[in-house]
């Protein structure tokens, strides 16, 4: 009688293993996806009124001052919306005018970021820049672009950084900051305003501390202060 072949060289065993491993992994991924989707649902104005932190806050955050500070408990930086309390949490109190207003309604703010997101896709921003770190590496990351010290230096000349960014977007070569210029993509005034709103909204997304040490030039000096 032949020796019984080892299970380790049995095609049937490996076929079954492959099927089981794939099935279990896929089921786990689907379960995790449900949880992640729930956690990434865009917040509402109600959440902000009730001071509930959302990973992706309501677009009405454009009415508030946004900052990015180290959270001791989490061990990395988190977005701070409307001022920081003693525990390092967002207070949702300090407002900041955005294009002259700090009372953008939920509906208005949503319409604005809708236009902004469409423009960001229509102009292929992601094929030069990175957004949330994803995209191309020919131009700076835009995740926290709203908070970039560059705009603070330009803000006074334009009566606020939102105006400075808007003017830049409408005709980037005219305000080129570097030999590697951004081209003129035919962005209209309305589109530019919407993109600025999107950048401000995006800077309030909780990215688990990415990018690290944003704005802390050479490790010692906080450029945003």
């Amino acid at each position: 009688m032949d020796k019984k072949p080892s299970v380790w060289t049995s095609n049937r065993f490996w076929r079954r293993s492959a099927t089981w491993v794939t099935g279990v992994s896929a089921v786990l991924l689907i379960l995790l996806t449900f949880d992640t989707m729930a956690q990434m649902k865009m917040g509402t104005e109600e959440d902000i009124k009730n001071k509930i932190d959302r990973r992706i806050p309501s677009p009405v955050v454009i009415n508030y001052k946004i900052d990015y500070q180290l959270n001791r408990r989490r061990g990395h930086e988190v977005p701070i919306i409307g001022g920081m309390d003693a525990n390092g949490k967002s207070k949702y109190e300090e407002k900041e005018k955005f294009f002259g207003r700090d009372d953008w309604s939920e509906e208005e703010a949503r319409a604005l970021i809708h236009k902004g997101k469409l423009t960001i896709q229509a102009k292929n921003c992601m094929d030069c820049h990175t957004l949330l770190g994803n995209g191309a590496y020919y131009a700076p990351d835009l995740t926290k672009a709203w908070l970039d010290p560059t705009w603070d230096t330009l803000a006074p000349a334009y009566n606020g950084k939102e105006y400075a960014i808007k003017e830049f977007l409408k005709n980037p070569p005219a305000m080129a900051m570097h030999e590697r210029k951004m081209p003129n993509l035919g962005i209209t005034d309305e589109e530019a305003k919407a993109v600025v709103a999107y950048l401000k909204f995006m800077s309030a997304i909780d990215t688990n501390g990415f990018p690290r040490n944003f704005g802390k030039i050479k490790g010692a000096v906080d450029a945003r202060k």
Binding site: Q39, I56, Q121, Y137, N213
Partner: protein, 477 residues
Amino acid sequence: MQGNRLYEGQKLALKYFTVAIVLFGAQLLFGLFAAIQFLYPDFLFGILDFSINRMLHINALVVWLLYAMIGAVYWLLPDEAGVEVVGVKLGEIAFYILTAAVAVVVLVYLFIQVGPGEESTIWFITEGREYIEAPRWADIGIVAVVLVFLYNVYATVMKGRHTGILVVLMADLIALAGLYLAGMFYTDNISVDQFWWWWVVHLWVEATWEVYVAAVGGYILIKTLNANRKVVEMWLWIEVAMMFGSGILGLGHHYFWIGTPEYWWEIGALFSALEPVPLVGLFVHVLYDWGKETGKGNTIKNVPAFAWLTVETFGNFLGAGVWGFMHTLPQINLYTHGTQWPAAHGHLAFYGAYVAIMISAIYIAVQGKAGLKELKMTKAGWWAISLITVGVLLMTVALTISAYVQTMVERGMYGATWEGYFVAQANTWFVQGIGWRLVTGLMVLVGYGFLVYDLLTCDKKQPAEVYEASKEAAAAA
């Protein structure tokens, strides 16, 4: 292979391969433009901006690999199943529709480039999402074409032999096609957008495409070495278990920083750290079969195809495995995410994992079309494989040096601001790396010239004994 007689499905495969090789050239050309712009930003500024060159560079890559992948399936399908491809006429119509659609999309990319910030742009010009920029109308066209392809594969296998290779391909292709749907919607929530976008991009290139490669690699081993089918298929199932076991949840390594919950740190770190394991397996298997078969005195039936398969196993392990692992842990990725690191990794990974094996499959088709019993490596073939492989390897090293500088200076010292970004970009070592990338890119382009020449002529430039042996075999049959 039965002399010069090809199945209709295999003739269709040759058409897919032809378009694939043309698009490969386009990929290199636009990549070259983009590489030049990194050094000389005024080059083609306002005519073909970096974003357009870069989009064409990566889209041409994805599309030519898909063409080659479909081509390779149409090539091996009748051979494995032992019957003609069912619905081959339909497949031919689908080929022309797909090619016309690709041509229109490319023309729009080149001459219209960007649109207004409205839904119509997403539908007709570009979706503006890296790798899957194709406008929505083209997405729907692609789905229709893929459905025809899937029907042909399933109907053919049902009619013919159900080999292990075909069973794996059937399961894999349906997942591959289904995943494309995850990228076909619009949302204002950029985190949700990127979450599903990665379902397409990651679950293609780090799961379903890898399994595809394992299956086609198995077929090539049988063709080039006469490898034992039972062993090949056993390895194939082990590969599937390991690739899907690590790759599906390895998706988590894209969910560290996009607004996703923290638990993805642990899941992504663990499973993506396991992703290199099957790639080592693939590589060991090919070397093992090579040693075993040549040890028995058997010759390699298609030297260029086997050489490219070997490049695939090394390149896949190094590029996808080692270079991927280097920056996959969240502690490191926090600083490397969005720098030249993924560029370095991406170049060697796509080349090693996919480009090399598709070229290998094309050489199998060249041999089949000529009806030769054996195919030896020609001089041009050697130049092609050497220039392209060394070029991509050195390019990866150059980009890695730039990536180190960018990570240290922009991320470490300057905290990722715009100023930090440009200070890093101007760093001498960074610029040197980018310079060498251009030089090595030119090397790859020259290698591509040799490759095209060799694919067109290698069947006519074989040593005399190859033709004699083929004649004898034909006479005996």
